[in-house]
Amino acid sequence: MISVFKINARPGRFACFVLPWVLFVVCFLLYTRASFVRHQENPRDKLVPTVTQLIDGVKRSAFEEDRKGDLRLWVDSWASTKRFFIALIIISLGILIGLNMGAFPYLELFFYRFFLFFDKVPALALLPILFITFGLGEVSKVALIVIGVMPTIVLDTFLRAKEFPRELNIKAMTLGASHFEILYRVILPNIFPKVLDTLRLNLKAVVLFLIAGESLAATAGLGYRIFVVRRYLAMDIIIPYVIWISLLAFSADFLLRYWIRHKYQWLNK
């Protein structure tokens, strides 16, 4: 027991297998307990559905057509994933902006203060303006995500490019590299995995803005569905959707981590 609080403890195989799951199980038990109690009091309770009801909710959303004839979970996932990736691609352009800002002093002067300020603007508060300028279609939803997350990526890349050791640049120059070669063949490959890491940590913000945008105006999407079925308190749909969104975001995070680990093995050496 005491060895738990040793900083040089070496957890055994059993602990390695069991401990990561303990809190999941606790949450699950607390939930089923709460749902059991509520259903004893009111068998028609919708706020904390039982596990069977949740499974039924999953079945209905994933495998049964709704009244519009859609398998809504897949329609929604497709709509949201599309927005997610389009936004992610645009946000990735921020890496190039940040890189150039970090390397070229004139570009730094031009962009830095603006992005620093822009980063602090609460994007959600801009939503009405976005809807007025871009309408209620896809553009405004992607724009919301980009405005919310891109400045962070730009600034992070900028800082990393900036702290890149000057000696290495000089070394490259003496070897005859051009300015652009230094940028894209020396600095970028060196900071790229770290920037990917920042992108990965910002997936949460991407998902948050995605859901916020969808909740306000949409015809399909994971966030859209959650806010529509809320009108009739269908927690048996909402809870599986929330878990599904978390799983999707977790997988995106996992893929990026996998990419970093395998493509940039030198990073940890």
Binding site: N42, P128, T219
Partner: protein, 358 residues
């Protein structure tokens, strides 16, 4: 070291047990009741009742305390369903599809008003209802706006599938529609309708005055609470009809009261009065009681419950429209008699009409 570890473990266990306990513990009942309300022309009198201490006076008379809380509309109904509030203002539709459908038996004790133009379908480019086929229509999905649209389409031989509904938050629906000339049709409620109508080239093609008495605004109280504490119903009805009496008087006193309501609603007195024109208030308790006790309401509720059922609002597993029972003052029941969850209860309105609350 071992001691610290034991202490930490103790604390962790305590927190764990406390959270289990808190989640499962039933709420303690006190004599203070929470009434939640949201901004709407027909509900502003509640704010005035609180502001002018009229509500306090009536609560005191019946030996209870009533706490009035303002919330956003859907969260307020959610709070009510979660039993964090004892009473809440809502439409007949939400009363049926939110609390009643989730087994929170609800009594509608005050028939406040019905929407008589407050909800409207607006178009630009001179589009009529029949031209809506294939068009995008912005509205808050599954709200009374959605209901109004379906009724409008039905009356004109169209189906819901003939149009494409874009779910749009009521926070953005008006500015987005005004700014975006490509959007051709929108369904929303007041004061947003008024705001949009001020723009040139907008046509009001259908509104709730064509379906009078279908979109009702009621004070809903949890039946369980009302059975134990009928004095809550009495205090609410007493306060409400005192405010109604003030409002229906003409002249300075009514204006002063309405000025306060307008302020709380964030509009001018003139604007508020304009909104009241499209709200058919039941200023007299007798009128409200008569409508609630009449036969017309059953016919109107039948439209509403069928809409709710066909849109999955009674629960996606509901097998028939009759699954949730609705009881009327004459004792008749629409739907399942064994599962009465929505009760139109005119007792308190009758008492107010007969002067028994004085």
């Amino acid at each position: 070291m071992a001691k610290i570890v034991r202490n930490i473990n103790g604390i962790l266990m305590a927190v764990l047990f406390a959270s289990v306990f808190l989640i499962s513990a039933a709420q303690a009942k006190t004599q203070t009741f929470t009434v939640v309300w949201s901004i709407y022309a027909g509900w502003m009198p509640w704010d005035y009742a609180g502001h002018s201490k009229i509500l306090d006076k009536w609560a005191q008379k019946y030996g209870i305390k009533i706490e009035l809380k303002k919330m956003d509309y859907i969260p307020s109904v959610e709070a009510y369903v979660a039993k964090k509030a004892d009473a809440c203002v809502m439409t007949n539709m939400e009363a049926l599809d939110m609390p009643a459908a989730s087994g929170i038996s609800t009594s509608a004790i005050i028939m406040g008003d019905f929407s008589n133009g407050n909800d409207a379908l607006l178009t630009r480019n001179n589009i009529g209802i029949k031209d809506l086929k294939g068009k995008d229509i912005s509205l808050v999905e599954l709200s009374v706006s959605h209901y109004l649209l379906v009724r409008a389409l039905e009356m004109n031989g169209l189906k819901e599938n003939d149009v494409r509904i874009v779910n749009t938050s009521d926070a953005d629906i008006a500015p987005a529609f005004i700014a975006n000339k490509k959007q051709e049709a929108v369904v929303t409620w007041n004061p947003l309708v008024m705001e949009i109508m001020q723009q040139p080239g907008i046509k009001n093609v259908m509104n709730s005055s064509s379906i009078p008495g279908e979109i009702l605004d009621v004070m809903a109280v949890r039946t369980e609470v009302l059975q134990k504490h009928p004095e809550l119903g009495k205090a609410l009805a007493g306060a409400w009809y005192e405010v109604m009496a003030t409002m229906s008087k003409r002249g300075a006193e009514a204006d002063k009261a309405m000025e306060i309501m307008a302020q709380a609603a964030g509009c001018s007195l003139t604007e508020y009065k304009a909104q009241l024109k499209t709200t058919a208030m039941y200023y007299k308790a007798k009128d409200a009681a008569d409508f609630t006790g009449g036969s017309e309401i059953k016919e109107k509720m039948n439209y509403v419950r069928n809409f709710c059922f066909s849109h999955g609002l009674l629960g996606e597993n509901a097998r028939s429209v009759d699954e949730v029972g609705i009881q009327y003052p004459d004792g008749s029941v629409q739907g399942d008699k064994k599962n009465i969850q929505l009760i139109f209860d005119s007792r308190f309105m009758v008492m107010a009409a007969e002067g028994k609350l004085e």
